[in-house]
C-alpha cells in the first residue's frame, strides 16, 4: 500500500511542479507573479471557485458529521446553494468596483470605497484567519490522514514538513497562476473521485450499508429527522442538545457561516484576478449550487454510512474495506480526501500571503519596490506564512483547530460592508465599522477561543459554543445588522455619501440589473425568502415527515429513504432554479464589459507611491534599512 500511496502523492505533486515551471518560464514581472496580471480565464474561475468553496466547507469533516448526526447534518450541504446566492449578490459588483476603482485586492476596493484604512485592517485580519489557523487545520488533518493511511510509515510531523515545504516551493516558483491551475486540478480530482467512490460503494461493496444498517449515528441522536426548530441549550460544552445539535436554526445559521467563506477576502481575490468575470454565473449556478451541492447531497449518506463515527479515525474501516476490494479503490478514497484538504490548505495560505504582500508590503511598507523586488517580497511573505502554518500544525495543532472556526464566522461580518459597496450607498463607513466590530466580538465570545479566554481570565460564561444551537456566525451577524442599521440612521446623509455615490452612479448608469417590474421584483425576493425558510430555516422541520406521513392521508408511505432526504433534494432543485433566476435572468452575475471604463474612479497617480505610506512607517523602514551603513561609518 505504501508504494501505491507514494504514486498517488507523486501524481498531483508532479503536476504542480510541472505547471509551476511552465508558468515561471512565461511570467517575468513581479505584479503578474502576485495576481496573474488579473488575467485568469473564465474556466479557471469556474473550476477553482467551486473547489475552493467546497474545500472551505470541508468534505473531510462533513462526511464525519453526516456519519455522527445522520440526515440532519446532510442538510448542511444546502449551504452550497447559499454560497451561490451570495456569489450572485456580490461577486459581479465587487469585480466591477475593482475595475472602476483600479484596485487590485478586495481590501483595497473596500478601503477606497469607504475611504477607511480600518476596513482594510479588518479584512487583513480575516485574510490572516483563513491563511494561518484554517490552513494549519487543513494541513494538520492532511498529515494525520497520511500517517494513518501509511500505518505510521510516514509520521504526522514529517508529513507536515514535507507538504509545507513542497507547497511553498511550487507557489514561490509559479506564483498565483500556478496556484490556480493546481487548484483546478485538485477540484476536478476531488469531484470525480467523490462521484466514483459513491458509485463504487453503491455497486461494488455488497449490501449498501445505508439501506442495510442505516447511518451509525451517536447514541441518542435522531438519524432521519431534524431535532426541532431550536433547542434551548446553553450551547456545546455546556448542556447537550437532545436528538442532535443540527436543529433547523443550526442548519440555517451554519449556512450563514458558509456565506462567510464565499465573501472572504481570500475567495474574493480569485474573482478579482479573473480577466472578464464571465464565468461567475456559470460557476455559481451550475457548478457550486448545481453539481457541487448535488453530488454531496446525493452521495454523502452512502459514504458516511460506511464510516465508524464513534472512532477518531472514522475513515479507517472504509479504507480497509475498499483496499480489500482493490488497492486502487482504497487509494482513491485517500486521494479524494487529500485533494480536498490540500486544496483548502494551499489555496487559503497562498491567497492570504499574496493579499498581505499587496496590501501591506507593496502599499505601506515598501511602496517603491521594483518589479523583481516585488516578486522577492511575495516569496518572503509566503515563507513567513508557511513557517507559521508548519509550526502550528506540527507542534500546536490545537491552536489551529480552535481558531479555524473563527475564520468563516468573522468573515461573514463583512456582509454589511458588501451590501453597502454593492447595493446600499446609504450604509456609511462608521455604521459598517461599528457593526463589524461588535459582530466579530460576539463571534469571538461564542466560539472556542473566546470561551477559553473568558473562562480562564474571569468567570465562566453562562453560554457555551453556539448557544441555543445557533452558529456563532449568525449571532455575530444579528448584532452586526442591529448596530449597523442603528448607526446608519444617524449618518446616512453625511459628507462622505457623495464619495460613495460616485460608484453607485456608475453602476446605475452602465451596469443595470434587470429585476423586472414591481411584481417580478417582489416575486424574486419573496421566493428567495420562502426558499430560505423552508430549506434551511424553521420550515425545514416539515421535511421530517412530509413525504413519509402525508398530511391529508391517514396512512404512512414507505419511501425506502428518509422523508428529510427527499425534502432536501427537492429544495436543492428549487435552489438551483433560484440561483439561475437571479444570476442569469436578473443579470446579477452577467457582466457586460462593453460599457466598462477601467480606472474611471482611479486614485490620483501622484498620490499612489508617496502620500499613502504613513510617515512613522517610512521613518521606521528608513531607520532599519540605513542602520548597516551607519554602523560601518562609525567603525
Amino acid at each position: 500500500m505504501q508504494g501505491l500511496l507514494t504514486i498517488i502523492l507523486v501524481l498531483p505533486a508532479a503536476y504542480a511542479l510541472y505547471m509551476a515551471a511552465q508558468v515561471s518560464r512565461h511570467v517575468t514581472n513581479g505584479p503578474d507573479h502576485l495576481d496573474a496580471g488579473a488575467s485568469l480565464t473564465n474556466w479557471t474561475y469556474i473550476f477553482a471557485a467551486a473547489g475552493v468553496l467546497i474545500a472551505g466547507l470541508g468534505p473531510f469533516d462533513h462526511l464525519r458529521l453526516v456519519a455522527s448526526y445522520g440526515f440532519q447534518a446532510n442538510m448542511l450541504f444546502l449551504s452550497f446553494v447559499c454560497m451561490g446566492l451570495a456569489g450572485a449578490l456580490f461577486q459581479k459588483r465587487l469585480w466591477l468596483a475593482s475595475r472602476i476603482l483600479d484596485a487590485k485586492s478586495p481590501g483595497e476596493v473596500f478601503a477606497r470605497y469607504y475611504d477607511s484604512p480600518s476596513i482594510r485592517i479588518f479584512m487583513l485580519g480575516v485574510a490572516f484567519l483563513f491563511a494561518v489557523p484554517l490552513a494549519s487545520y487543513f494541513l494538520s488533518q492532511t498529515a494525520g490522514l497520511l500517517a494513518s493511511a501509511s500505518s505510521g510509515a510516514i509520521s504526522r510531523l514529517s508529513a507536515v514538513f514535507y507538504i509545507g515545504i513542497f507547497t511553498f516551493i511550487f507557489a514561490a516558483l509559479g506564483g498565483w497562476r500556478a496556484v490556480v491551475y493546481v487548484t483546478v486540478a485538485l477540484s476536478v480530482l476531488m469531484g470525480l473521485l467523490f462521484i466514483f467512490l459513491g458509485g463504487l460503494i453503491i455497486t461494488a461493496l455488497g449490501d449498501v450499508a445505508l439501506f442495510h444498517d442505516g447511518l451509525k449515528v451517536a447514541q441518542g441522536v435522531f438519524a432521519d429527522v431534524i431535532p426541532g426548530v431550536i433547542q434551548f441549550s446553553g450551547g456545546l460544552g455546556r448542556s447537550p442538545a437532545e436528538g442532535g445539535v443540527w436543529t433547523a436554526l443550526a442548519i440555517g445559521s451554519f449556512a450563514v457561516s458558509a456565506v462567510g467563506v464565499a465573501i472572504s477576502p481570500n475567495f474574493s481575490f480569485l474573482g478579482l484576478t479573473t480577466k472578464h468575470g464571465r464565468g461567475f454565473a456559470f460557476s455559481q449556478v451550475w457548478v457550486v449550487a448545481g453539481i457541487g451541492a448535488g453530488i454531496f447531497i446525493g452521495l454523502s449518506p452512502f459514504i458516511a454510512a460506511e464510516l465508524e463515527s464513534a472512532k477518531s479515525d472514522a475513515f479507517q474501516a472504509l479504507f480497509t474495506k475498499l483496499s480489500d476490494l482493490d488497492g486502487m479503490a482504497g487509494a482513491a478514497l485517500i486521494l479524494m480526501l487529500l485533494s480536498s484538504l490540500l486544496l483548502g490548505f494551499a489555496y487559503f495560505a497562498i491567497s492570504g500571503a499574496n493579499i498581505f504582500t499587496m496590501e501591506v508590503v507593496n502599499r505601506y511598507l515598501l511602496p517603491k519596490l521594483s518589479s523583481e523586488a516585488q516578486r522577492l517580497s511575495s516569496r518572503i511573505v509566503l515563507a513567513v506564512i508557511f513557517a507559521l502554518i508548519v509550526v502550528i500544525s506540527g507542534f500546536v495543532p490545537a491552536l489551529g483547530s480552535s481558531f479555524a472556526p473563527l475564520a468563516a464566522g468573522i468573515s461573514v461580518q463583512l456582509f454589511m460592508a458588501y451590501l453597502g459597496l454593492c447595493w446600499m450607498p446609504w450604509l456609511s463607513r462608521s455604521a459598517v465599522l461599528v457593526g463589524m466590530c461588535f459582530g466579530a466580538l460576539v463571534v469571538f465570545f461564542t466560539e472556542v477561543p473566546g470561551l477559553i479566554l473568558f473562562d480562564k481570565l474571569f468567570v465562566p460564561l453562562p453560554w457555551g459554543r453556539w448557544p441555543l444551537t445557533v452558529h456563532s456566525a449568525a449571532w455575530g451577524l444579528l448584532v452586526n445588522i442591529f448596530f449597523c442599521l442603528l448607526v446608519a440612521i444617524f449618518n446616512r446623509k453625511g459628507a462622505e455619501r457623495s464619495h460613495r455615490d460616485q460608484l453607485h452612479d456608475i453602476f446605475a448608469r452602465d451596469h443595470k440589473t434587470d429585476f423586472g417590474g414591481r411584481a417580478a421584483q417582489g416575486a424574486k425576493w419573496s421566493l428567495t425568502l420562502i426558499w430560505a425558510f423552508l430549506a434551511i430555516g424553521p420550515g425545514a422541520v416539515l421535511g421530517n415527515n412530509f413525504f413519509s406521513k402525508p398530511i391529508f392521508s391517514g396512512s404512512d408511505v414507505k419511501l425506502g429513504i428518509p422523508s428529510l432526504w427527499v425534502w432536501e433534494i427537492l429544495f436543492w432543485v428549487v435552489g438551483v432554479f433560484l440561483v439561475w433566476w437571479l444570476a442569469y435572468r436578473t443579470q446579477l452575475s452577467v457582466i457586460d464589459t462593453e460599457r466598462l471604463r477601467i480606472g474611471e474612479l482611479a486614485e490620483d497617480p501622484r498620490l499612489v507611491t508617496s502620500a499613502r505610506q504613513p510617515l512613522w512607517l517610512k521613518q521606521l523602514v528608513d531607520r532599519l534599512s540605513n542602520r548597516p551603513a551607519q554602523t560601518s561609518r562609525a567603525r
Binding site: I8, L11, P12, Y15, Y18, M19, Q22, V23, H26, V27, T28, D32, G37, S39, T41, W43, T44, F47, R177, Y181, V184, A185, V188, L189, G191, L192, L193, F196, G199, T203, A204, L325, D326, M328, A329, A331, A332, L335
Partner: protein, 144 residues
C-alpha cells in the same frame, strides 16, 4: 506574456487537470474489472476514458484549437501499447482472459469509433482520410 502564450498555457493546464482525474478513475476501474473479471467495471473504465476524450474535445471547441501533435502522438502511443498488451494477453493467457475479451474489445472499438467520429465531424471525410495519408505527406513535393 502574450495572449497566445497565455491561451496555450491555459489550455494545456486544463487538459492535464481533466486527464489527471479521468485517467485515475479509468485506471482504477479497468484494474478492478480485470482483477475481478467484472465487465461492468471494465465498461465504466472505458466510459471514463471516453468521458476524458469528450472533455478534451470540448476544451478544443472552447479554445478553438485542434489536438496538438504531442497529444496525438501520446494518445496513439498509449492506445497502441494497450492494444499490444491486450493482444498478447489473449494470446498467452486465453483461459483467464477469454471472459474479458468481449468488453475490452468493445471498449477499444468504442474509443476508435469516437476518434473517427470526431475527425469526420471536424475535418470532413476527405480531411480525416488525408490525416492518415502518409504516402502523400512524405512523397515528393509537387512542382507548383
Amino acid at each position: 506574456m502574450t495572449d497566445r502564450e497565455l491561451k496555450s498555457l491555459d489550455r494545456h493546464a486544463l487538459v492535464m487537470a481533466l486527464w489527471l482525474g479521468f485517467a485515475f478513475v479509468a485506471v482504477t476501474m479497468l484494474k478492478l474489472g480485470i482483477d475481478h473479471t467484472n465487465w461492468w467495471a471494465l465498461s465504466l473504465g472505458f466510459a471514463s476514458v471516453l468521458a476524458g476524450f469528450i472533455a478534451h474535445v470540448l476544451i478544443n471547441i472552447v479554445f478553438k484549437t485542434l489536438f496538438t501533435p504531442r497529444e496525438v502522438a501520446l494518445g496513439l502511443f498509449v492506445f497502441a501499447i494497450c492494444l499490444l498488451w491486450f493482444g498478447l494477453a489473449v494470446f498467452f493467457y486465453p483461459q483467464h482472459r477469454f471472459s474479458l475479451f468481449l468488453p475490452i474489445a468493445l471498449g477499444f472499438v468504442a474509443l476508435t469509433a469516437a476518434v473517427i467520429f470526431t475527425m469526420i465531424t471536424w475535418l470532413g471525410v476527405r480531411g480525416a482520410f488525408e490525416s492518415f495519408d502518409i504516402i502523400r505527406r512524405f512523397g515528393p513535393e509537387k512542382k507548383r
